[in-house]
């Protein structure tokens, strides 16, 4: 049986990698619950990245390249525009974890 998290009395199914089985189950509360399972309390900077990755995925049907995120950080004046900064936000992999907490599938390739 697959793993679940419970949000407001609803059981939400996860896949083997801890990502949502159904992207439509996502909400900000779900993101916080997924992060909390990993011991992470989401900050504003982490939320910026999650929202950016979700919007990018909506437009292009895949997560962004790191260089695209860095360009967007520079443009938005958000934090420090570097991969080092992004890895400080999510040491386990900024794009991968932004996808996970953002309710998106795990990135398929290592691009």
């Amino acid at each position: 049986m697959s793993e679940t998290i419970e949000i407001n009395g609803h059981a939400i199914e996860l896949d083997d990698d801890g990502h949502l089985k159904n992207a439509r189950d996502w909400s900000e509360a779900v993101a916080e619950a997924l992060a909390a399972r990993d011991g992470v309390e989401l900050t504003d900077a982490q939320w910026w990245l999650i929202r950016f990755v979700r919007e990018h995925h909506r437009r292009y049907h895949m997560p962004p390249l790191m260089r695209v995120v860095i360009g967007a950080l520079l443009e938005a004046g958000e934090g420090e525009a570097s991969s080092r900064y992004l890895y400080r936000l999510f040491p386990g992999g900024p794009i991968r974890l932004a996808c996970k907490y953002g309710g998106l599938p795990a990135p398929e390739s290592c691009v």
């Binding site: 437009r59 292009y60 049907h61 895949m62 962004p64 390249l65 790191m66 260089r67 695209v68 360009g71 398929e108 390739s109 290592c110 691009v111």
Partner: protein, 207 residues
């Protein structure tokens, strides 16, 4: 299959038994096989490993396995003829050295990816990922679509290609005698301009 000047390159991302055959090979050119995603199972499955190892002995294939994908599946190191490498290493090996004098013309170190066919979703995704990997590593890359390859720039499947113009990842071109309708902005080249671009590139990858 991709032909990179005098090197043939195969990308294998599906597990053994799902579509990827061991490449028939003329023995005239070196062949680099890069296994990524579920393709790394070829290096772990005993039957597949034996078959690939025999092909190495016969045709001198170079078998490179994506180290990240492998690390997600096993901690055991691979033995020769298998070797591990990153996508960065893969691109470094197929990209002309800026110091090596390999450029054939004014394009110098530019890699030109020529996409002249489309296929199933998996094939189209692999073409996209190959180009995105080059862009991620800031390879001096241009992508030129022709013939059936133009289909990759049409319909819902074209959405990921819009990243190239939107974020200036690499210029996109297409070869046609007149303007055609595409869902991704690309610059038209006539046959002569396309041939000139290929002649001036440091390396050409034919898909």
């Amino acid at each position: 299959m991709y032909i990179v000047n005098t090197m043939e390159v195969f990308l294998i991302r599906t597990a053994p038994g799902i579509g990827h055959e061991i490449p028939a090979h003329s023995q005239r050119t070196p062949v680099l096989c890069f296994f990524h995603g579920d393709g790394v199972e070829h290096a772990l499955n005993p039957d597949a490993r034996r078959a690939w190892s025999a092909a190495v002995a016969e045709a001198g294939l170079d078998l490179m396995v994506c180290e990240s994908a492998l690390a997600r599946r096993t901690k055991k190191p691979l033995k020769p003829p298998w070797r591990t490498g990153s996508l960065a290493q893969f691109w470094a090996e197929i990209t002309p050295s800026p110091l090596g004098g390999e450029g054939r013309g004014e394009g110098g170190g530019q890699v030109l990816a020529q996409v002249n066919r489309s296929g199933d979703d998996r094939f189209n995704r692999e073409v996209l990922e190959l180009c995105l990997a080059g862009a991620a590593l800031e390879v001096d890359l241009a992508v030129c679509f022709s013939d059936a390859g133009l289909e990759l720039l049409r319909g819902p499947g074209a959405a990921p290609w819009r990243q190239f113009p939107d974020f200036e990842l690499a210029p996109l071109y297409y070869v046609a005698d007149r303007e055609v309708s595409l869902d991704v902005p690309a610059r038209r080249l006539d046959g002569g301009e396309a041939a000139r671009m290929a002649g001036e590139a440091g390396r050409v990858i034919d898909v």
